[in-house]
Symmetry: C2
Subunit: 340 residues, 2 copies
Amino acid sequence: MTRPPTIRDVAERAGVSKSLVSLVLRGSDQVRPEKRDAVLRAARELGYRPNAAARSLSEQRTRTVGVLLNDLRNPWFVDLLDGLNSLLHANGLRMLLADARLNRRTGQDPADPLLDLRVDGLVVVGTLPDPAALEAAAGRIPVVLAGSREPAPPGADVVAGDDEQGARLATEHLIGLGHRRIAHIAGYGAVGGLRRRSYEAAMRRHGLADLAAVEPGDMTEEGGYRATVRLLSRPDRPTAVLAVNDITAVGVLSAADELGLRVPRDLSVVGYDDTSIARLRHVWLTTVDNAGHEVGRRAARCLLDRFGDPAAPGREQLVTPALEIRGTTAAPTVTRPLTG
Amino acid sequence: MTRPPTIRDVAERAGVSKSLVSLVLRGSDQVRPEKRDAVLRAARELGYRPNAAARSLSEQRTRTVGVLLNDLRNPWFVDLLDGLNSLLHANGLRMLLADARLNRRTGQDPADPLLDLRVDGLVVVGTLPDPAALEAAAGRIPVVLAGSREPAPPGADVVAGDDEQGARLATEHLIGLGHRRIAHIAGYGAVGGLRRRSYEAAMRRHGLADLAAVEPGDMTEEGGYRATVRLLSRPDRPTAVLAVNDITAVGVLSAADELGLRVPRDLSVVGYDDTSIARLRHVWLTTVDNAGHEVGRRAARCLLDRFGDPAAPGREQLVTPALEIRGTTAAPTVTRPLTG
DNA sequence: GCCCCTCTTTGGACCGTTCCAGAACCTGTC
DNA sequence: GACAGGTTCTGGAACGGTCCAAAGAGGGGC
């Protein structure tokens, strides 16, 4: 009922000035121990909590970093957040999450609430909101795009997994197992393009360009399912499929199941992202681990660096992914087709 | 580089006082149209954004509701957030997410950052953080526990799915299909207890008390797997399993798979929560839809009501769940055991 | 006892808003 | 043309902190 205590209430109870309370609470060592104790005791007794709004108004900074997520339903970013948070937290910064999809309702820019709160920095995870609005933001505060490779506004940093390397690892894993007809179910956006082109390049490098087959998908399970049905109904059907992401790969598994193909005996499947779904025993998908934690850590690093030097030019950092071999890939048992 | 424009900059450019700018921006109709236009134009030209910290300091409210999530990795709450947001947003409130697990690092209470920001209300989604801290918060601001049935601090509201009804629906679905040996893999917490007891009650009501079997689990896939291995190695093994949640049910599927049992022919499986995993074609799990969206809407409703009447006693609201029948349940094909 | 110096402590300005009392300006009436 | 009453507009005081210049306290040297 009664209003929360302020720094003045604490000062009064401790018998000192509000300035001294402020000093103590900010950990100054220019304070006599007895006074410090008196202040801390008073604060404890009153249940004092600093008012973040007042503090940031006065300090001209919020010690808060806004994180814009494109879709909470797609949990691949959880590791990334974890890495991000660990470093930010160690530097006394808090993280504020906003779901771009939820906030889109308004028709306004999804970053608006965060910008109104005057966050000190912005991390955009995954696909971009309105690039124009982001560019405006990048002029005022540090902006980092994490986990995607969209074109960045000038002055923004980009940290992401190395999609080219990851797709190459996956493709060469399949080639190394002896597969030659390896199909790819593609996605959209910068990530989709990079993974597809890297797959194509790897096939070409191993003299398999003619056997490459790209089927478009929409990065959903349903899309993976449908693309697989199309792929497997071809006369020269593939013995392995590289999907643009895990969820698409799960669609591939469903289709294979339905068409009576056993995985990995009749069909090898590789996903991408190493989401929790891939780790389910029931799925146990071979996939590419995007090193989300490390991406998050580096994104935080970028932000921290940029607080120090706001004018530094935007950089792009790629984190090396790792192949995670599980149960959906094996050597092909089908006899080598004549055309191979 | 230059500092963001303030309301005074706008006032100067529009040739009016800052108070008038404030009036215009808050949509007062006590302003002459020409002045209003001048102010709006000036604001647009300067790229003015209101400073949320200053506003909330002055207004003594933040128009922000804090949402405390227990674990972003467990995405069952996404629908809930969606429902929550829709109503809050319509009432001019924004949502701030905090992950309790991420913030726990500090050893402090995970709600601290939200409370420092002086959120106007708090929604705790899922299992509780430190109950003591929550109780302190409930004294100052409206608190709603959403999606779980933990004991609430006095003055807090609780909105959740009706676990008893859901578990009964699921159990009776299995009984209706002809199953008699129905096992339950239990979980922990209030939710775990309610679902288990409701399962037991339903079995009893149908004269199947002797055939009831409860195996403890830990609400993870691994736990579901292990519990199933134990269950299926019994001489009188069940023909159906009701799992405490979807993720546990996926563990059941894995174990069945590994032991050579076909689902649903040899074993029926029901999950709980209707998470996105249950909807994967490759899983296609029969489960209980917890009506997350509706739970979220009602939680928002509670909060809004409580802004109006802070002293109202805490209420508990239950939302009726619905059975979602998919591919993992069917009539038992095994002959009825003699003891049945 | 006085002066200087360092270590503590304090009052007051400021951050960018809202809110409120009252000023200024209309308009119509007598 | 003064006045009442309404509509518009304004200055200044909050809000709860931080920051800074300067005041006060204490100690040492002469």
